[in-house]
Structure formats: structure tokens, C-alpha cells
Symmetry: C2
Subunit: 235 residues, 2 copies
């Protein structure tokens, strides 16, 4: 195994708390009541369906920043929230300012001593550059959906990254907190590691609390993965 | 200006001295007489013509690693040099172990505090990952020809990078030691900075000794560029 690529939203960064904190900051600044938790959850709720429309060809290729904006506009209308264009642009960029989980930076830093470490994300590259800078993520390389003009779980994303790495799929491992992402990668021959992020979706999370497939590794978090790989542990 | 992208071979790394040193090492190990300087210069001589064959459609898309190998095989035959397959693979990877110019790492490190810093290179991504690791180059992002399946000076490479950055060309600057590369970028609306590398082609270099266009900046080297941009100097 030569390279480890990471799902980012939820696996490396804590999008939900980060969005809620930024909604709270905006509420303080504007004096407007903003249901931050609800907005964060509903906004993320639009995530998969909006990409699926692109994946099914019902909408031409659209980067995630623009899908986010379409969902945001709908959400604000549904909630009767009145924000002007500048504020909407600012809110859309909340996704560019996401905090890492506590182990992410240390884990990636340890792993990149021995492996090529990259993103494998449905976010667009310009978004990922901002996230990397904000969260201090020490990527060697960014694999983003807009490089391939496909969204995961389309095979073009997983195999496109392997091809650019010049590696066969079995030399590349996907690390994700989502069993479905790992399933798609495994079917294409990539190695897999599951790390649980039991609070990604908040205190009442019910999905992805544990490994649900025959993954090559299961680790507590990214730092734990680095330690296991050095000690030669398997799952 | 938000992002600075760099030509790599010659601008950021000293390919010629690095190849010659590795040929010398191989000669010591094998006891075989190897004309390292000649081979380095002739190998690089095949570089532009080999990419031009791809650019003109005479050869299907081929990554630089494979173009290098085709040129190497021809070169070894011309010089009557006998290397087996494993040795040829090792020699081809000399391009993965290139040393930076003395200012490159410090300059890129200074620039990335304020700008997105990326490669914009005809090398393939897997090659560039190795060069980055070997030379310690702190890239934010790697733009490589195989992302676009085009070689510079095709417009797809320059505009493709701007598009992935989510920036209009005038917010992106190309830094290169080659006037022709800057010319292509300027024609597409990118900003440009020339830095001379008067020994890139060895002691008798005649080309690209100075700026030959109306570039936005001319700097002594990458570190000097970082200093000029902070002090608000123009060309």
C-alpha cells in the first residue's frame, strides 16, 4: 500500500459543528434568529440528492459549491429567512471554513511520512484548498470531484485517482467514516479502512456507528490508523 | 492575485545537475563509462519534440514518464549503451529525484503564507509527487499535464488550472524561467513573472537568460519574488 486517500466531509473535518458555530456567529452579528442546527442538518440533507441529480444526468456537471448554493437558496425560502446576496455568498462559504476532528492533523502528519496522503472528496478543488488551509491539513495531493467531473460513488472518481497516482487500486486505500463509500471503493479493488465518527450527524446519529463491511482495517481515528499501520496490526 | 503556479523543470528544480549526479552514481556502481552530461542534455533535447508529437495528435495521450522512457531507449541505442530493463526503469526515475534550486523551498514556503502555491507542469502527477517529496516542495496543489491530458503550451492546461482554482486568469500568476511558457500564459490573461535560471542548461546556456516579454514581474529567484510581492514592488 503506497497511498491513502480520505473522504473529507465527516471523516477528516467536522462539518456539522463548524456550520452551527458559523450560523451562531452570523446570528450574533445580525441580531437575526437563525436555527443553525436545523439549517446545518437540512443543508447536509440536500447533499446526496443534489449530487445524485448530477450523477443521473438530470443536471449538467455542477461543482459542489454551486450545488450547496442551490440548496441554500431553497432552504432559506422554506424557512422564510431573509438574507441578501452578499450574506448568502458568505453563508455558502461556511463550507470552506470547517474544523478538523481533534486527531486529523496529527494523524495525516504521521501518515504522510510513509504514504502519499490525499483527499478523495466530492468537494471541488477550490473549496478543498480553503478547507486545507483553514483546518491545516497537510495533504500531498488533492483529488476532488471536479478533476473527474463525477461524484462518488461513481467509479471514475476512485479509479481516476489511482490512475493519476500511477498505482493499481490494491496499492491505494480509502479511509472513510461512511460504509457506503468504502463499499464502492472495495468493489473496484481499493483497500479500505473505516473510522467511526459517531457525532458527525450530531448527538442522535444512527448511521455509520460501526463497520458494516469486511474492511481491511478498522481504526478509532486517523491517528490510531497511523499507529496501527506502523505496528503492522491488521483489522 | 490569489494563486501562483510554477513551471517545475528548470524553474523550481535543477534537472540537469540532478540527472548528471545520478548518472555519475550509476557509473560508479556499475563500473560502466556513462557520458552523463551528454545523456542529460540529449534526453532533455527529446522533451519538447516528444510532447509536440502528442500535442499534434501523432501519438495518443502519453504521460511524461512514458515519453521519457521512449526517449531514453532511443538514446541508449544511439550511444551503444547496454542497460537491462531494471536499470532502464531506475534511470527513468532519475526524473523523480531532482534537487531544488537553493531558493526554491524557502521561496515557496514564504509565498504560501499569502497565496495558493501550485505546480503547473508537463510532468505527470505521480512524478510530481515524488519530486515534491524528494525536493521538499511545499505545494498547496499539483496541476499536472495528465489532469488535463494536454501539454503546455496548450491552452487547456493554463485555463484548466484557473478553472479548478475557481479564479479568473487575471487572479493567477505563472512563474517560469522560460519566456515561451509565460507568453502562452499571458495570451490567455494570466499574470506572469520571469525568473532567470542561467545555468539550467549548463555553463554554455544561451536561451532564456533574460526577460523577453512584458511580464508583470521579473525577480531574481523565487525567494526574491516573495520579498518583492510583500513590499509591493512591481517589475
Amino acid at each position: 500500500m503506497k497511498a491513502i486517500v480520505f473522504d473529507v466531509f465527516g471523516t477528516v473535518v467536522d462539518w456539522r459543528s463548524s456550520l452551527i458555530a458559523q450560523f451562531a456567529e452570523l446570528a450574533r452579528e445580525t441580531g437575526q434568529a437563525i436555527p443553525g442546527e436545523t439549517l446545518a442538518d437540512e443543508w447536509r440533507g440536500h447533499y446526496a440528492p443534489s449530487m445524485d441529480r448530477v450523477r443521473r444526468g438530470e443536471q449538467p456537471w455542477t461543482v459542489l459549491d454551486d450545488l450547496h448554493r442551490q440548496s441554500l437558496d431553497r432552504l432559506l425560502e422554506e424557512h422564510g429567512l431573509d438574507f441578501d446576496e452578499a450574506q448568502r455568498q458568505r453563508i455558502n462559504r461556511f463550507w470552506h471554513r470547517l474544523e478538523p476532528w481533534p486527531d486529523s492533523v496529527a494523524g495525516l502528519t504521521a501518515l504522510r511520512r510513509h504514504y502519499t496522503v490525499g483527499s478523495l472528496t466530492n468537494g471541488n478543488l477550490s473549496l478543498m484548498l480553503d478547507v486545507a488551509r483553514h483546518a491545516g491539513l497537510p495533504w500531498n495531493v488533492l483529488f476532488c470531484a471536479d478533476l473527474f467531473r463525477h461524484y462518488k460513488p461513481d467509479r471514475e472518481v476512485y479509479l481516476g485517482a489511482c490512475d493519476l497516482l500511477g498505482l493499481p487500486p490494491e496499492d491505494v486505500m480509502l479511509c472513510a467514516a461512511h460504509n457506503s463509500d468504502l463499499s464502492a471503493a472495495q468493489a473496484l479493488g481499493l483497500k479500505t479502512v473505516f473510522i467511526p465518527r459517531p457525532h458527525e450527524y450530531g448527538p442522535r446519529q444512527t448511521r455509520d456507528l460501526q463497520a458494516e463491511g469486511d474492511w481491511d482495517y478498522v481504526a478509532k481515528d486517523i491517528l490510531d490508523l497511523a499507529i496501527r499501520l506502523r505496528s503492522g496490526d491488521s483489522a
